[in-house]
């Protein structure tokens, strides 16, 4: 049964996840082309110096890319389910009530994870060409909350889209929007080091948030 659920989800999001991943790869390609240009024009020592002592982050363009991915995938995956209350069909599958929904969630989150792993792999691999491990590690610490924000945005957006009551949909959007800002506090390179483990736990906890909206949906909240 899980193969069928995954196939249904794949049909819904395939162009969006493929398009998003390609755009993300283009973004990373652009970052490193710019970096290569800066190395050629200002010299490696000046690039390193501005990164180490002036807080320059050549990857700042990437900041909201994971967030956009989470929102796009959640909307393309769950908005069709709200049209004519199609989600009801999921609850009539020969699965425990929440399992169908959690399989959908697992597919969406897994797709995002694959996209983010590709981004992370490319970013780390190219970075190691230009920088020693100390600079790359600090960059990863800086980027990690942005990637976690992508997952958090996906989980929160799923909760909001499936919420049947408009007033609560607005209120949950408000809570979700405010909550997501904690991943984007203005801070220097590697400043998120002590917070990343806590953010990871919160993001994992959020992964079953959608069950709450689905429960309200099933019980006919309007």
């Amino acid at each position: 049964m899980w193969e069928s659920v995954f196939y249904k989800e794949w049909l819904k999001i395939r162009w969006f996840i493929v398009g998003y991943t390609l755009l993300g790869i283009l973004c990373i390609g652009y970052l490193f082309l710019t970096l290569k240009h800066n190395f050629a024009f200002t010299g490696g020592k000046n690039v390193w110096n501005t990164m180490l002592f002036q807080g320059h982050q050549f990857y700042s363009l990437f900041k909201y890319v994971p967030l956009a991915g989470g929102l796009v995938i959640a909307i393309t995956q769950y908005l069709p389910e709200t049209i004519n209350k199609r989600l009801k069909l999921t609850f009539h599958l020969p699965l425990a009530e929440n399992n169908g929904l959690l399989l959908m969630q697992a597919f969406g989150a897994g797709s995002l994870l694959i996209a983010f792993l590709i981004f992370g792999g490319l970013f780390t691999g190219f970075s190691l060409i230009y920088f020693p491990i100390e600079i790359v590690a600090d960059a990863i610490i800086t980027i990690l909350p942005w990637l976690l924000a992508g997952f958090a945005a996906y989980f929160m957006a799923a909760l909001v889209v499936l919420e049947p009551n408009r007033v609560f949909r607005f209120l949950y959007s408000l809570v979700g929007g405010c909550f997501l800002t904690i991943y984007f506090a203005s801070a220097g390179t590697a400043a998120y080091g002590p917070a990343n483990s806590g953010l990871f736990v919160l993001t994992v906890l959020l992964s079953i948030a959608v069950v709450f909206s689905a429960y309200r949906f099933r019980k006919g909240e309007m």
């Binding site: 020592k45 020693p132 600090d138 002590p194 917070a195 919160l202 079953i208 709450f212």
Partner: protein, 409 residues
């Protein structure tokens, strides 16, 4: 699972509300606390205090005009007094030589959030005697792990020969790898290069420079048991010392130039985790200002670093003012991702002082109970919600009504 997902969302909402509602409260109600600005007068031999845009006093509280205030601080307002023609020819029998005034003038500031901050792990080692008028940024950067590595920035490759030469120089001087603390001035905007002060894994202090491409390593003799938590290198015109050093016991030391003497300054009540430090130096005195959230302590030192005067003043913090007391009565705690005392992002949890918030929580609990009673809800399904209200107060009340449990009744 529905219940678990609801409690998770309540938890997320409580965290969000505990960050944003206090932030909103303080944005609306916080009043600025004007902290006094203090300098030691080499003329009147007492601290002069500026308490605002139009209030100047001496340490005894006597009011004075702005002109009088500036005349008492000729080393601070030298340009102004020169412009108005009121700069004295001599002070305390010492003729004022403008070159000497300029040479002895110095300023050092260590903000509390600079101590608890991410530190770079790579540094440029400048050529100290390049023969050039201006310092040039080197092509490579060094790190100290189990040895010294110099890495070429253009190729990202380790410069093996240079790395081995510097590693050997440190090793032969008794350096114990890796480094615990590296401090220098990694900038070209300085009068000359004095390299780096490095604390090794055994808390020993070393000075490392590069002269004509060769390492110069000097081990500094420090008393047993002394260790340093912060070193702030300086580039003052008088070249009296290399750095201000803060020990593990929060004492302030200087390391004199060339003869490497550690001199402890007679200054106490400084904690780099909670206090800003400002040190003004001039021809006649060093003024050490220690500024905490609720008080300021000013110390005046003679040129030979003896304490000549101190002045302390305290004020109410925002938590002690009326708006702070109201805050502590309504909100059980405040959560923030950032702090004035650190550059790290963390979950900064600050519980409210006192127990008034507990009374407010109980009031909210009673109101919630009444609301359940009116709705004829089954109380056994609401014990956890009531526990959430009792602990998290106003945040919990909002959260449980955002993520309602009416379907679980």
């Amino acid at each position: 699972m529905e219940k678990i997902s609801r409690y998770i969302m309540i938890f997320i909402a409580v965290i969000t509300l505990a960050i944003f509602i206090p932030k909103l409260y303080w944005t609306v109600f916080e009043k600025p606390i004007r902290k006094p600005i203090m300098h030691y007068s080499c003329i009147s031999k007492q601290f002069m205090i500026n308490r605002g845009e139009k209030e100047w006093t001496d340490a005894k509280g006597n009011q004075c005009s702005r002109d009088e205030y500036e005349r008492m601080l000729p080393m601070m307002f030298t340009k102004q007094l020169l412009a108005s023609g009121t700069l004295p020819d001599s002070i305390n029998g010492t003729a004022l030589d403008m070159r000497a005034v300029s040479r002895e003038k110095s300023f050092f500031r260590l903000k509390v959030n600079e101590v608890d901050a991410p530190a770079p792990r790579l540094y440029p080692l400048f050529e100290s005697r390049s023969g050039r008028a201006q310092l040039e940024l080197p092509e490579d950067f060094f790190r100290i792990t189990w040895r010294v590595d110099f890495i070429d920035a253009a190729t990202n490759q380790i410069l093996e020969e240079k790395s081995q030469m510097f590693s050997a120089a440190l090793f032969h001087n008794g350096f114990s790898f890796p480094a615990k603390l590296i401090s220098g001035l990694p900038t070209q905007r300085k009068s000359c290069d004095e390299g780096y002060l490095i604390v090794d894994s055994k808390e020993q202090l070393f000075h490392l420079k590069m002269i004509k491409g060769k390492p110069l390593v000097k081990k500094v003799d420090i008393p047993d048991g002394l260790n340093f938590r912060y070193i702030g290198c300086v580039d003052f015109k008088n070249k009296d010392f290399y750095a201000y050093l803060v020990s593990g016991k929060n004492e302030i030391y200087i390391l004199t130039q060339d003869d490497y003497k550690l001199i402890k300054w007679p200054v106490d009540r400084y904690d780099p985790a909670t206090c800003d430090l400002k040190i003004y130096g001039d021809l006649f005195n060093y003024t050490v200002i220690i500024e905490a959230e609720d008080h300021i302590k000013a110390n005046a030192l003679s040129p030979d670093y003896q304490l000549v005067d101190t002045f302390t003043e305290s004020w109410k913090t925002k938590e002690q003012l009326q708006e702070g007391k109201i805050f502590a009565s309504i909100f059980p705690a405040q959560l923030s991702m950032k702090s004035d005392n650190s550059k790290f992002v963390r979950f900064y949890f600050t519980p409210s002082k006192g127990t008034n918030w507990l009374l407010f929580n109980m009031l909210l609990l009673v109101l919630h109970f009444a609301w359940l009673y009116v709705r004829k809800a089954k109380l056994k399904n609401h014990w956890v919600d009531m526990g959430i209200v009792a602990v998290s107060g106003i945040y919990g009340v909002i959260a449980i009504h955002l993520f309602q449990n009416k379907f679980f009744d």
